[in-house]
Amino acid sequence: MKSILERAIREQCRTGAGVLLALACASGAHAATASATATAVVLQPMTISKTADMTFGNLVAGNGTVTMSTTGVRSASGSTPLPNGVTPAPAYFTIAGSANNTFSISTTGSSTTLADSGTDTMPVAWFWEVTSTAAGTNQTSGTPATGTLSSGAAYIFVGAAVTVGATQAAATYTGTFQVSVDYN
């Protein structure tokens, strides 16, 4: 009888069928354990804030395309001298987050023109650079899509190129540069 039962259990163990027989199989097996390490990294929430708006300064018809670098240096494609009564300055943003992490940059929603209070506009093309210190490096192009929080901080300096029409109306023109960042 016992040999018949043992054969039945062995057969059930071999085929894996039957709950009760599985218990018998288990009780007859050696126990084994394993462990896995669980790791979670909670990053400091990223923040970005505008530190300075962009001041393009005074322009005059005939300046053509005026490019202002990420440090506020202007140049014009036209032959008419640039008025220099207002000190130009780039926009820049301060970013904070967990150190040594990279982040993505999006500028969706930024203006494509600067506009006055009426219907006059000037095309604008933005460019920017990401720095680890609060100073630009005089870039006149570049649209990096990523940056690094080297020490938990980063900065985005923004320059732009504005095209002044040959008969551009005298007025104050404004536009918005919008940036969002996110951990990679």
Partner: protein, 159 residues
């Protein structure tokens, strides 16, 4: 400050094998945690401002003999756009002061008068502007017998 604190979110995944019906040590629980993926976007905006000022108008007597009282240099810009511009500056005016005309000399009195006239004459509207820069003075010639008269060709540009 238009900074916006971001919303941290974390994601975990776990896999659990059910214990056998008999409660034997077959169950294995394995929690698999990746580094928490923090969906943590933040955004901010900056305004860009550019001011287009009106082209300069020179209502001077260009290319003809003038005196300080005759010369008018007027310029203006769109109302409200002149703040921050520096005051009028004039370069040294070189005027011949003798009949021979061989030795041009700076006439400070003439320059001051010119500046004064310009400041007044440049007022087409309320936003007037006393701001500008005489960028170059050229073609000075002497008219014998006319005292401090000179033929000026000037260009001006906004500061």
């Amino acid at each position: 400050m238009q900074g916006m604190a971001a919303r941290p979110e974390s994601a975990t995944a776990s896999t659990r094998l059910r214990r056998g019906a008999g409660g034997l040590l077959i169950g294995l629980v394995a929690g698999i945690f990746g580094a928490a993926e923090t969906a943590d976007a933040a955004g901010a905006k900056a305004q860009a401002r550019a001011t287009v000022i009106e082209a300069i108008h020179v209502n001077g007597l260009i290319g003809v003999p003038v005196t300080a009282a005759d010369l008018i240099v007027a310029w203006r810009a769109a109302p409200g756009t002149n703040s921050g511009l520096p005051a009028l500056r004039l370069p040294a005016l070189l005027l011949p002061d003798d009949a021979a005309g061989a030795t041009p000399a700076y006439d400070a009195a003439f320059a001051r008068t010119l500046g004064s006239v310009a400041a007044v004459a440049g007022a087409p509207v309320d936003a007037v502007l006393q701001h500008g820069l005489v960028a170059a003075v050229s073609a000075i010639t002497y008219e014998p017998g006319e005292g401090h008269a000179a033929q000026l060709s000037i260009t001006v540009a906004f500061n």
